[in-house]
């Protein structure tokens, strides 16, 4: 004599197995203290990150236009900002170019970066001339050149803003960096100083001798190659800009 309940044995097994599985899965997935969403995360230090022993490599930098003092921890990586050079077509506009001073900075590991020139731009916009009219520009790149085993490329295909109206951009660049700019006063300066051509291709290392000219207003730019160790944007006169400071429209990023 047998019982008819035997026909539902598979259903029973599936139900019991499913129940056990659900319980095990649920319990093993339950977040335990200290491992919430932390799959690849290492334990974070308790305090702010220390830049060098006793934070010694976090050196104070005084900003040029009322921005106060900032203490960044620098990577030491060159960011090469390139606007392909030419002498006939305006590619960018800058209201003011200031040569502030020359500094020796240190990177995060204490390596000294000598003779970096501290310059600042007001209202630096690529893809516009000083009248605010759009000008065509292509081939603008921002790329690291000495990263630790990698190259990071940012390639915008339209006008770039590194600062913009009402924003001051302070940069610490190597002294072989250069800009090609023009206006009436600087044209005279080019002639007097016999610097290569007009519009002038000026290496940043010569900025200090041209500061009496460069502090003027509104320069059209034709080309640029800056080797940037550090760049910071802030509201001219001090404070936080209300709008966007850096715009990289239609931009491709790749790291290799």
């Amino acid at each position: 004599m047998s019982r008819p309940v035997l026909s539902s044995r598979w259903r029973q097994r599936v139900l019991a197995t499913g129940a056990a599985l659900a319980l095990v899965l649920g319990l093993t997935s339950w977040p335990l203290p200290g491992r919430v969403g932390d799959e690849s995360a290492a334990a974070l230090p308790d305090g702010p990150y220390v830049c060098g022993p006793n934070d010694v490599n976090r050196r104070p930098l005084t900003l040029s236009s009322g921005g106060g003092t900032i203490r960044p921890c620098l990577s030491g990586v060159d960011l090469q900002v390139t606007i392909p050079d030419n002498t006939s077509n305006v590619r960018y506009a800058i209201n003011k170019i200031r040569s502030v001073d020359t500094n020796n900075l240190v990177d995060a590991n204490g390596t000294v970066m000598t003779d970096l020139v501290h310059i600042s731009f007001d209202s630096f916009v690529i893809g516009q001339n000083t009248s605010g009219a759009a000008v065509p520009v292509s081939g603008v790149t921002l790329a690291t050149t000495n990263g630790n085993g990698y190259t990071l490329n940012l390639s915008p295909d339209a006008g770039v803003t590194l600062g913009g109206p009402g924003v001051t951009t302070d940069l610490w660049v190597t002294e072989d960096s250069w800009v090609r700019v023009n206006d009436n006063m600087l044209g005279l300066g080019c002639l007097v100083l016999t610097i290569s051509g007009n519009p002038c291709k000026l290496t940043v290392g010569t900025f200090s001798s041209l500061s009496w000219l460069l502090n003027g207003s509104s320069y059209n730019g034709y080309g640029m190659e800056l080797h940037v160790k550090y760049l910071v944007t802030y509201k001219t006169g001090g404070g936080v800009p209300t709008g966007s400071s850096v715009q990289l429209p239609n931009t491709s990023m790749a790291i290799s």
């Binding site: 139900l15 095990v24 995060a108 630790n148 550090y230 400071s245």
Partner: protein, 241 residues
């Protein structure tokens, strides 16, 4: 599942009380887990093991934004560098992640998507979100004045990736939130820091996406399709095409 009945024959049947207890407890835990994820209590993470995945979103808007180059070690032993993008808080206008796998000669694609299909709203929100990017393209719709990669406030380029800040604890920025390499105190690892920032119409490849805080993923859909699948497209988005 058998016992001996009074008539001496084996007795088959479900111990419904025992099974019910087990089933009830299991289902309660699973339901609770799902509820906690959906109500933004439990953190979520997507980890891509040994190959990148494609992703897209119509917009990613973040507060306290940090970008830094970080070395990674993949599960297959290979190494590389990614641009790690961290956001203390972030909202997204649609999100899609797609990954193709091949197991035992069978190729299939897993696609995860979320969003309300409305280009006017950034309906996905998360705290402490991190994306490990190997490439991306950020563009915009015609006429958009602030398309592409936009950084706002005080922006810094050239920091050590270790010095980038995003999240805070007790009002104080957490140290090294991107978990960048601390070798040489971060020397050689390029970093960008911004008060806030956005990426519009973005698509690319990533190795890892983590949300270590809460996340709200409306209309979450997960699909597994045979083959290499179709291009990842954010819900309701005109981009990526």
């Amino acid at each position: 599942m058998s016992a001996v009945a009074a008539d001496g024959l084996p007795r088959y049947g479900t111990r419904w009380r025992r099974t019910g207890v087990l089933l009830g407890a299991g289902l309660a835990v699973v339901v609770a887990l799902v509820a906690l994820v959906r109500t933004s209590v439990i953190a979520s993470s997507i980890v891509v093991q040994n190959a990148s995945a494609s992703f897209s979103s119509s917009a990613i808007v973040g507060q306290d934004v940090g970008l830094g180059v970080v070395p990674i070690l993949r599960s297959n032993g290979s190494t590389g560098s990614v641009l790690r993008a961290g956001f203390a808080t972030v909202s997204l206008n649609g999100f899609c992640l797609s990954k193709t796998e091949t197991i035992a000669g069978f190729t299939y694609t897993i696609t995860l998507s979320a969003g309300d299909g409305n280009l006017a709203t950034n309906e996905i929100t998360a705290n402490n979100a991190v994306f490990d990017l190997s490439s991306m393209r950020s563009a915009g719709q015609a006429g958009q004045a602030t398309n592409g990669l936009v950084l706002q406030g005080i922006d810094q380029l050239g920091l050590a990736a270790t010095d980038v800040t995003t999240t805070r604890t007790g009002g104080v920025f957490d140290a090294n939130p991107l978990e960048a390499s601390t070798s040489g105190y971060g020397k050689g690892a390029f970093g960008i820091d911004a008060t806030s920032g956005s990426l519009s119409s973005v698509k690319g490849t990533l190795w890892d996406a983590q949300v270590n805080g809460s996340i709200n993923l409306p209309n979450l859909k997960i699909a597994v399709t045979p083959g290499t699948g179709t291009a990842c497209s954010a819900a309701g988005s005109a981009y990526p095409k």
